[in-house]
Amino acid sequence: MIEVFLAMLLSPVLCSLPVAFAWLIDPKPEWARKLPILAVVGLFISLICALQILFSPDRLVKSDWLPEFNINFVFIIDYLSKIMGTLTALIAFLIGVYGLEYMKHDYRLGWYWFFFNLFTASMLLVVYSDNLLMLLIGWEGLGLASWGLIGHWFRDDDELSYVGEVGRKVAGQNYFWSPSTGGWRAISTIRVGDMPMFFAIAAIYFFTGTLNISEIHWEEFAKEVGSFGIFLILFLFMLGPFTKSAQLPFSEWLMTAMTGPTTVSALLHSATMVAAGTYLFMRLSWYIEPWNLHSEGIEAIYIIVLFLGLISAFYGASVALGCLERKVLLAASTMSSLGLMFASTAACAWVGKIAILVGFWYLVTHAFAKATLFLVAGHLIHETHDRFCVGGKEVAKHLKLAFIATIVATLFLSGIPPLTAYWVKSAMDGVMHSLEHHFGYLPLFLLVVTSAIYSAFLAKFLSLNFWKGKEVHIHPHGGGLMSLAYIAMASMLILLLYIYLTGEGFTKLHEFAHFVEEGFLTSSLMVGIIVLVTYLLALYKPRLESPIGKALGDRLYMPFLNDYIVPKFGWFLAKIADYGNRLIDFTCHQAIPSLFEVYSLGVRSIQSGSMERYVKIVVAVVLIVFLISAGMGVTI
């Protein structure tokens, strides 16, 4: 079995090396433009391996590396990892196929494909790792690859790759971001979370003696370190997922990550990297089983995650509602969905395992739908040469497949009965409803409002790009491979719907029966109708000029946190460091040397050459020392 894992993790990286080296040795290797196909073959091998794992029984696959430190290759095959791994490999492969056409004329394919495939391998490592340190290696690989991919167009020479209106200033601050800034913002934000997470992992190893998530005795661990201890460790740990999944206040990097190629946005910022945070939280919850524990510290963590998720979901949806940039709109909506996943998973502390399953299947549904939308957005940007939502009926006529895929994705994702997301969302309504005893109706209310806004901006996206947007003239040519990819992606939603409804799908999972049961409740249907109404409203009237909308479109001025407050604080620290530096410089280069110099000259000034003087000194010293010793001799 370990061979399958090795093949899965290594094949994408190895297959991307030829194209990477081609660009390394030759700045313009026109001969190597076909090599990316090999890279996609690597992704395909990964997919085959993932499928092989999907159909094998649950178990741990171990291979020793540094056993004395409990750092080993421990791959886990369980419910979550099987499906998540397959999802990752499938989406990566489909986007890889799309990328073959989308990136055809790019100026550095070596860089792109190497990091794209490295990213996929890292993500698979994160998904299947049971060992926290191996997981962290994959986790850091994600960060590195995301930096490389977001900043892919490092020359910052194409306004089409920027985020925000180029040249715009708000309160003296640039309100647009280049790809290189985007890459920097991503990696710097993620590092903020990774560091505490690293220390938390060290603490977990210190107290439990193991790094394998499935082998940690969480109950004993919680008892050993006390309520506050477990709270602190888990909170530090969760900072990693929070930053990776762009929850408040770490959301800004995800918005400016849209400076990367669209394929990158589709892979990293819909289905995989940002979902890695929520996935890790699900995996942890799966084994912590907080519904069985009575630890105030753990409960406090779940309360924080629940509300942070809900508030981030609400914020993300509102921002998406006001946003007019295709990809930024989708990024904000992704953030919103991630919030819902966190919230739903966190509810497991009171509701039980079903809450994790709801969150997880929402992740799967969202991944396909959002990836589809990103791919469509990429195709639209390609054809219209515009980042903002433009396009009337002519676009819909010329790009029929894109149009159809968008309709399917938006309808299926917004939670309109009886389409795919409706069943998961219904179950989510049920989960939030059961929190009534603990938090009243607040979680349910936030969820419903978020869902309503969510469906509205999805409809807006559809309407502004294919129906009521500004008319543009396009002359599409090619695009077959791209269309194929997103149609395949969208059709996965229909497959999912089939799985949910039959309940006897190939995985034979009974939680789908629960989804369906929840879906037939009147309350769920009511929410479904609200969602449908907002969808139709937004479809009919996609634009509404208002200052509130403007503020929402400016992301409620959150960029000032990253671009003004944090740098100011950083410069303050730098200033302090600078003063410390100068003090050290002064001490080491001026004060101490001149002290030595003065002393040294003093020592040497004795040497006048005068014999008389020397004898005087010697006699004086001899007498003084004799006096001292005589005094001592008496006292002894």
Binding site: I606, Q607, M632
Partner: protein, 401 residues
């Protein structure tokens, strides 16, 4: 004993023969020196120094006592080897004088004219030193016999001050920079190397025999003086301009390091051995280093050799200077003189700049000459400790039982 007498006779004969041919004198002196090899485990190292001294004296063949100087070296080295063997106080004090007096002659020699002024300066202090040292040693023995503590303190201090004046420990170091600067570098190389052993060995032997009365306060005076010597030597060297002066201050600092080992004299036996091993090894470092550097002062040297010598003085492993300091520090730490050990380490750090400066001053490039060859051999001697010198420690344990 007979062998030593014969060797001394040969040396005297060599001095006489030098009226006809100084070269024969050199050969005979070396021969006399070699005769002592079987009698002490330290002999071969001492004799290596002596032979290097004789060879470097060949570079100033136009001096006033040419021929006799080789015999003087032979006499001094025989006395040094003998000082390792004997434990008789009278003999030890005699050896002290035997080694000290010939240097009065050496300090005055020059290639053009006799250096009388510096000779007078040197002799004045040496006479004072000899008087203090002998009075101190005798007083110590007497105090030890009568168990008189206050007399012991006086004797200890007298011995200490005599030793300080003799080898140039601050604050009684005034003659050192002047003599090192003005006298002939080759002559100084003898004073700074071979002449330093006997005073310390005699002091070790006297103090070890009478150490039972040494009180902490008295050792404190000693420790303070050694610390003063380290600081004055190293800091004085920092701004000294000529190579000779740097070497003078370096000698003051090195004598401070060696004096520090006396602080461990009342410690348990194994640490005393470490202290003596450290002190002796530092004496060897100082001797080889000073011979090498003074020869370089006379005639330049390849900078590789100069670097090797400097690094050894600074105390970089695996050179000899590292091990000597390690032994000293080890002994100090385990005899409750941690602060002195820290001061020693600090001083090693302070010494880095001027030793490197020294390399630039004397490292003018390799020439094929006697002095350059001597420097090369001195530099190679620093590599003796590529084999970690536990063997040296064993020699000390055997020799000072």
């Amino acid at each position: 004993m007979i062998i030593f007498l014969i060797a001394i006779l040969i040396a005297v004969f060599a001095a006489v023969v030098s009226y006809w041919n100084p070269k024969i004198s050199a050969v005979m002196s070396v021969l006399a020196v070699l005769m002592a090899i079987p009698y002490s485990p330290f002999a071969s190292l001492i004799l290596a120094i002596a032979i290097l001294n004789v060879v470097s004296l060949l570079a100033i063949r136009r001096n006033q006592i040419v021929g006799v100087d080789y015999a003087i070296i032979a006499l001094m080295s025989l006395a040094t080897v003998y000082s390792f063997i004997t434990s008789n106080l009278a003999e030890l004090l005699l050896l002290f004088v035997v080694v000290s007096t010939p240097t009065y002659l050496l300090v005055m020699i020059g290639e053009e004219r006799l250096n009388v002024e510096i000779g007078i300066k040197y002799v004045t202090f040496m006479v004072l030193a000899t008087v203090l040292f002998i009075i101190g040693a005798v007083t110590l023995y007497h105090a030890h016999l009568t168990q008189d503590l206050s007399l012991y303190a006086i004797g200890f201090v007298a011995l200490l001050l005599g030793l300080a004046l003799e080898v140039g420990i601050a604050p009684l170091h005034e003659w050192v920079p002047d003599v090192f600067e003005s006298a002939n570098p080759i002559a100084v190389s003898v004073i700074a190397s071979l002449a330093k052993f006997v005073p310390f060995i005699v002091a070790y032997k006297v103090l070890m025999a009478t150490a039972t009365l040494a009180a902490t306060q008295i050792l404190l005076i000693l420790a303070v003086i050694s610390a003063i010597s380290m600081f004055i030597g190293n800091i004085g060297a920092l701004t000294a301009k000529s190579a000779s002066r740097i070497l003078a201050y370096s000698t003051i600092a090195n004598m401070g390091y060696i004096l520090a080992t006396f602080a461990a004299i009342t410690a348990p036996k194994e640490f005393v051995y470490y202290a003596i091993a450290g002190g002796l090894l530092q004496l060897f470092v100082n001797a080889f280093g000073k011979i090498g550097f003074f020869n370089a002062v006379k005639d330049g040297s390849s900078s590789f050799n100069a670097y090797l010598l400097s690094f050894s003085f600074i105390g970089l492993p695996p050179l000899m200077g590292f091990w000597s300091k390690l032994f000293i520090i080890y002994a100090l730490v385990f005899s409750n003189f941690l602060w002195l050990a820290i001061i020693l380490v600090l001083n090693s750090a302070i010494s880095v700049p001027y030793y490197l400066r020294l390399v630039r001053l004397v490292g003018t490039g390799w020439k094929f000459s006697i002095t350059n060859t001597v420097t090369l051999f001195c530099a190679l001697a620093m590599l003796v400790t590529l084999v970690p010198p536990s063997w040296f420690l064993e020699l000390v344990v055997g020799g000072f039982r």
